[in-house]
Symmetry: C2
Subunit: 467 residues, 2 copies
């Protein structure tokens, strides 16, 4: 037994891209594939986790991937598809036949099936659905009908229920029936005669209670349920807030139609956080290391072009003060300080606000709190940094008025930075646009324009003291 365990963990280490022997392992696989030595490949990959097979795919050519994929057990095929990155998945599914796809689908839960089918062109999807049993294809069709990113799309239809009027014995029978198809049963949902959700029973309670006990007696009525149309971000925030392990999904009449488990939520939390961080910088929300370069460029360059436009606006503001600059060249050297610090202070504000929106701490009930806080921070930052910078300029350049001009411009720009940084995402949210979208570009544009305007404007007004 000890031997067996060792062997397995040793194997796991093998498909680790960090390990020294990994390159050798890959070239071995490549040779076996080109020799079409299915038998030895199967031996080598026996027991490997589908997620690791997908990692291995990164270092193979498409033809090699397909060969490997086809010799995997059907169940592993399904999980390998689920674990593929979205861009690989789409082109990979194109290569597979309708039969190959439908054969794998029996081995995964309905939410995963729905996920995979959403990556097929609709004609091929219809063919795959026609290949499934009537019951399965009906279930999947109805799930595909739910709004994307809704609780309905996220849920699995594999769950066990028992009626509140039954006894524990019936509950155990129901679990036994489901146990074969469902890998992870942790609780049984309790419904009334019409299927309306009433509560749940943790699996251990069900099994440890005498079998003649009434279900109602051991039902936990504090059950969490989501309507199928609730947004996945709200689902995730509720799971986090209440430390849920699983929750039910109900239809308009309150009848249970699915369940969501915390592992589904894990992916959403990760996704939403990645989305925020990437969108803020003006990068497409799903850019990954494996995204083809031209696609990355195409998406990023859109925002850089927007940025180019905003940069021309700042440039026009500066051009407006060309006369002043030509008289007092030192202004050109100090411009970047005022604008640059404003940009970074604005980025700080926008980041904090976006993060608070994402975690649900900030909403329309308390947006004012956040803006007021950022404003106060802007004033304080502005006082400190404006004073420090003003004094430094005074000491270095020996001109008090110049110090005052820089300091004041910086003070004003810090306040503008904090207001823009906090208001932009809140306004976007109110307009039902993702608050993170390219926000750092918009915020730095504002702080550039305002920074240049106030600094050069003040300098123009007090020009005679600066020369």
């Amino acid at each position: 037994m000890e031997e067996e365990r060792k062997k397995e963990s040793e194997f796991r280490i093998k498909i680790d891209r960090e390990s020294d022997s990994y390159d050798e392992f890959v070239s071995q696989i490549k040779t076996l594939v080109s020799d079409e030595n299915a038998k030895q490949l199967k031996e080598m990959l026996d027991g490997a986790h589908p997620a690791d097979i997908v990692t291995l795919f990164r270092d193979l050519e498409r033809e090699e991937e397909l060969y490997l994929f086809r010799i995997l057990p059907k169940e592993d095929q399904a999980y390998a598809l689920v674990k593929m990155e979205e861009e690989t998945l789409e082109s990979f599914l194109e290569e597979l036949s309708v039969d190959e796809i439908s054969n794998t689908l029996y081995h995964i839960e309905t939410d995963e099936t729905t996920y995979l089918l959403s990556y097929l062109p609709s004609a091929k999807r219809e063919l795959v659905l026609a290949n499934l049993s009537k019951a399965d294809s009906f279930e999947i069709r109805s799930q595909l009908g739910f709004r994307e990113s809704s609780a309905g799309r996220l849920m699995s239809k594999d769950f066990a229920t028992v009626s509140i009027t039954d006894n524990v014995r019936k509950g155990i029978i129901n679990v036994r029936k489901k146990a074969k198809e469902i890998e992870d049963i942790y609780q049984v949902y309790v419904t009334d005669e019409d299927g309306v959700l009433e509560g749940f029973i943790p699996l251990k309670d069900l099994f440890l209670t005498p079998i003649n006990t009434k279900v109602a007696k051991i039902t936990n009525f504090s059950v969490f349920a989501f309507h199928y149309d609730v947004d996945q971000e709200e689902v995730a925030n509720t799971f986090k807030k209440y430390d849920l392990f699983s929750a039910a999904v109900t239809d308009d009449l309150g009848r249970i139609i699915g369940r969501i488990t915390v592992d589904d939520v894990l992916e959403i939390v990760e996704e939403e956080a990645s989305e925020d961080i990437l969108l803020m910088a003006g990068v497409s929300e799903d850019e990954r290391l494996s995204t083809p370069i031209l696609q990355s460029v195409k998406r990023r360059i859109i925002w850089l072009n927007v940025n180019l436009l905003t940069a021309f606006v700042s440039s026009t503001v500066v051009a407006f003060f060309e006369d002043t600059i030509s008289q007092i060249v030192v202004l050109a050297t100090l411009m970047p300080i005022v604008a640059g610090l404003g940009g970074n202070a604005g980025t700080q504000s926008v980041t904090v606000v976006i993060r608070n929106i994402a975690t649900g701490d900030l909403s329309f009930s308390n947006w004012w709190e956040a803006v007021r806080k950022e404003f106060t921070i802007g004033v304080l930052n502005g006082l400190v940094l404006g004073t420090v910078t003003g004094c430094m300029i005074f000491f270095v350049k020996g001109n008090l008025v110049l110090g005052l001009v820089v300091g004041t411009a910086m003070f004003v720009n810090m306040i503008i930075a904090s207001l823009t940084g906090s208001l932009v995402p809140i306004v976007l949210k109110a307009m039902r646009v993702d608050p993170a979208i390219a926000s750092s570009i918009f915020v730095t544009a504002t702080t550039d324009v305002c920074g240049f305007f106030f600094f050069l404007g003040l300098a123009t007004v007090f020009a005679k003291y600066l020369i």
Copy 2:
């Protein structure tokens, strides 16, 4: 029954800060607290989730919070503490007596107890530990000994095991023993006679198998286990990669000493993502809406001061070219375009790279891939944007050389932006510093300095064609 369910869900809505009746609800609570009407308060809050009570705390004064806290059931008290924000928790625990704290601790799992105790000053912690049973205090002391953010800190010591030489009956008996203290048992861990982890049995398999079956027969040997000293980020990435629901934690000899469930991981994923996004912008990793303003200012201003220094460096670079600028003032108006776009392109690169590091897609085995990709993107972005900008300048200003100078400077700066953006986080990671730390400030500093230098440098070389 229907009535009861309705009532509960109605109540849940009540502690929703978004609801219209919330303000009224809070003022009702405040009145009852000032009247010290514990009976009616208990009725109003009966069945409320501790997480909601904590939400309510945000709108109460400390004295009111304490009054409410003290009338909660002990179990809810414990969960309320666990759900508090870290900053509130520390000062809240100061107000509670040693007895109050130790009484709540019996109701939560060891990982949560350890978490709470880490917020106590060590003298008070010792008193609380002395108040607990010997077994409990030993367990918690040993867990507090694990490194912060390690698997050992994260794990719960509440789990059920069975020896591989036993039969299913023994497994069920063990679960029954544990079932009273542990809320969520989903599997039983299988060990050899020395406690060395061998595998696990899902709870449903245990209960649905005839009780005389040998444990070995239904054991699943593909069990995931972490050494106690493994970093929590690695734990989270493994959970995500393999869609785990739970995993074991083992000591140096491979004996099981705890288990981690996916709900613990959810918090880490959220935390790590927040950390990245906030650190990148130069905001403290744990700044929240509720962080006191002065604390926020103190932490943010450190990075703004760093930014001030880098801004002075850029300013010095510009000052170096004062003569050229005084002759050709238009340069001052175009400077921000070259530097600004470089800054945003660099932010795009750094964001993508940091995100890939966090998700585990990028590591030391393939850092070169990421840098090469970003470099290529930099070249392509530079070609496109350099050409566009150069042409625009040529058409607007009617000077071909000026267009070429701006376009070339932008091309070079885009490449520098992509290299800095991708290398800075990788180098920080290699130095074992968080790759996200204030990276946007460092990257924009580099693109500012290089942008100004190349643009003004080229302009100086070709000055005679620009006047």
